[in-house]
């Protein structure tokens, strides 16, 4: 009943054959295609083929003003759209040196962390679905649905939010929103206990996850794997701590890490991150100041000054970077979106080598990729 370390067996008996997984496959998230070379059920070579949902966000960014790119930002990664949307706003604010009012900072943190929880919950559900557990999937979607309702009540959208504005947010939150968020966090804590009994402690899940898909510190380093996948390998790197942005340095939260770097560690890191996000939301609600949600003084046109700029923020999947080059007009000369899943997925061929076919699903599901984010 243990997981022996599965290395590529030295025997080269039997022919290799190619199995094409995806882009239309029940458990290839979005439209990932994996070309697997197999010997029996063991993977000799895995080649991810991406680009099926390439929407040319970077080209679009070069052809419209920075403000007009705003609705694009949440569509880069539709599962943590709020984080991307606010992250893009924060990048432009940094470039244009716009001061964000305190209330907006707090609202943004609540919204972003709610979004992070919803993204992790979705990952939790789909990961279990990949492993064949359908019921936890529906439970977590039930919880996630409540987050969507809460965010819907203030942003008006459920998935691709366009809530941020340069300098603040579009709509002020009311007491009902804060109460609902508090109540939800209370509920989520009891649900997490339930998930522990149903899922985390489950012997089948543990057998499926422990020791599977180990990403070592060295591998993570060479591929620049970030986010929960990196923290599961024992590196406490979180952009919110390393380069504090958007007021995260005013709040108290931990960066959960695990040592083993396997799928189970990634699982635990995400569950613990949900708890940390809950803490952040509680603090932000408790210290919510009164005031404006947009700065009083705003530039008329958002002109990107000449020069290059880099802004990093922590999405639910890792380090999301915006590299922008301006030429003085309000249309960026160049915008590069450094998305975490892209790097995380690029480490997959190495991680998948030598594992079983069934592990492919667990590993690819476990690193939590979002295809539109990779393809951009």
């Amino acid at each position: 009943m243990t997981n022996p370390p599965r290395e590529l067996s030295p025997s080269t008996e039997g022919e290799l054959y190619t199995l094409n997984m995806g882009p239309q496959h029940p458990s290839m998230h979005g439209v990932l295609r994996l070309v697997l070379q197999l010997r029996g059920e063991q993977i000799v070579n895995a080649k991810p083929v991406i680009g099926y949902s390439h929407r040319a966000h970077e080209k679009m960014a070069e052809n419209r003003s920075a403000l007009q790119f705003l609705p694009n930002s949440s569509r880069i990664d539709y599962l943590s759209g709020m984080i991307y949307n606010l992250g893009y706003c924060q990048a432009v604010e940094k470039i244009l040196q716009i001061e964000v009012p305190d209330r907006a900072v707090h609202i943004r943190i609540i919204a972003a962390e709610l979004n992070r929880i919803s993204s992790h919950l979705l990952w939790f559900g789909t990961f279990l679905l990949d492993l064949g557990g359908i019921t936890p999937f529906l439970y977590s979607f039930d919880d996630r649905e409540q987050i969507l309702d809460i965010l819907d009540s203030v942003t008006g959208s459920r998935l691709t939010y366009c809530y941020g504005r340069f300098g603040g947010v579009t709509r002020d939150v009311d007491d009902e929103f804060l109460e609902r968020s508090t109540a939800f966090i209370k509920l989520l804590r009891t649900r997490l206990l339930m998930y522990k009994r149903l899922v985390t402690d489950n012997v089948i899940l543990r057998e499926r996850c422990i020791g599977v898909g180990v990403i070592s510190k060295d591998t993570a380093f060479r591929f620049d794997v970030t986010g929960p996948s990196l923290r599961a390998s024992g590196v406490a790197y979180d952009v919110r701590k390393a380069e504090p942005y958007g007021g995260y340095d005013r709040f108290d939260f931990e960066v959960p890490t695990e040592e083993d770097g396997d799928t189970m560690s990634r699982f635990h890191v995400r569950i613990r991150e949900i708890e940390q996000s809950c803490r952040l939301i509680e603090q932000a609600i408790a210290s919510m100041p009164e005031g404006d949600i947009l700065p009083k003084k705003m530039p008329k046109r958002f002109q990107i000054p000449k020069g290059e700029f880099y802004f990093a923020c922590e999405s639910a999947r890792g380090h999301f970077g915006i590299y922008m080059v301006g030429d003085g007009s309000d249309i960026p000369f160049k915008m590069k979106l450094r998305t975490p899943s892209f790097s995380n997925l690029s480490a997959m061929p190495e991680t998948l080598r030598g594992t079983m076919l069934a592990d492919t699903i667990a590993i690819v599901g476990g690193i939590d990729i979002v295809m539109p984010e990779i393809d951009r």
Partner: protein, 229 residues
């Protein structure tokens, strides 16, 4: 961990997992607490912030919208989904939109058009379960206002006339204030010439007179003078 200990702990975890699902099963059947919404039979309650296709707000005083065809929304729209045209209308000062077409199939509901609208006459509609058979989803935003156009012009003219009258009144008041201020200034200057220290009454009066601030820059010279004193 030993073989049997592992077997035991594994079985325990399975049983506790089954306990969770049994509890949920009983919860659904006995307490009738399914979390799903029986959609076509029950309708969801929409949040006040809910976003659907944009529409023009009907203002009470004119019973119509207030779009002046400035085209700010058309220019800002990242999806190029707004097409509008309009211009001068006989009888009123304001410009008026003639056609306002919006292609909802292209719209990404970002809300930038609402932000830039100078007259704040755009808002989101609350339609949520619409479906179409083709990619073109053109909505004519002005359509519902066409029948009220004459009424609007009448009411708008009344408003404009009232506003003009008020403006005239204010201008008069301002003129009066200016004259008074000028007089006070003259008096002050005279007083200053006479004896510098005791002259607080006149500027104070001038200040009270100049209270209607919106009466344009007529009293600028006066405030300068007051500051200096």
């Amino acid at each position: 961990m030993g073989y049997f200990a592992k077997l035991f702990s594994g079985s325990k975890s399975l049983v506790s997992g089954m306990g969770v699902t049994l509890k949920e099963l009983v919860g659904t059947t006995a307490q009738h607490k399914a979390v799903t919404l029986q959609y076509p039979k029950e309708k969801p309650v929409l949040a006040p912030a809910y976003r659907s296709a944009i529409k023009l707000i009907r203002f009470e005083e004119t019973n119509s919208h207030d779009c002046v065809a400035c085209k700010a929304c058309e220019r800002i729209c990242p999806s190029f989904c707004i097409k509008l045209d309009g211009g001068k209308v006989e009888g009123i000062k304001k410009k008026r939109v003639q056609t306002f077409e919006m292609d909802f199939a292209l719209c990404s509901l970002c809300g930038l058009c609402l932000d830039v609208c100078p007259t704040a006459t755009l808002e989101y509609s609350k339609a949520y379960d619409e479906a179409g058979y083709n990619r073109d989803w053109r909505v004519d935003l002005v359509a519902e206002f066409r029948d009220y156009e004459e009424e609007f012009i009448r009411k708008q003219r009344a408003i404009e006339e009232a506003a003009a009258a008020e403006k005239a009144l204010k201008a008069e008041q301002a003129k009066a204030a200016k004259e008074k201020a000028a007089k006070a200034k003259a008096a002050k200057e005279a007083a200053a010439k006479d004896a510098a220290p005791k002259d607080d009454a006149a500027p104070k009066a001038a200040k009270e007179d100049a209270a209607p601030k919106d009466a344009s820059g007529a009293n600028d010279g006066h405030t300068d003078a007051e500051d200096k004193s």
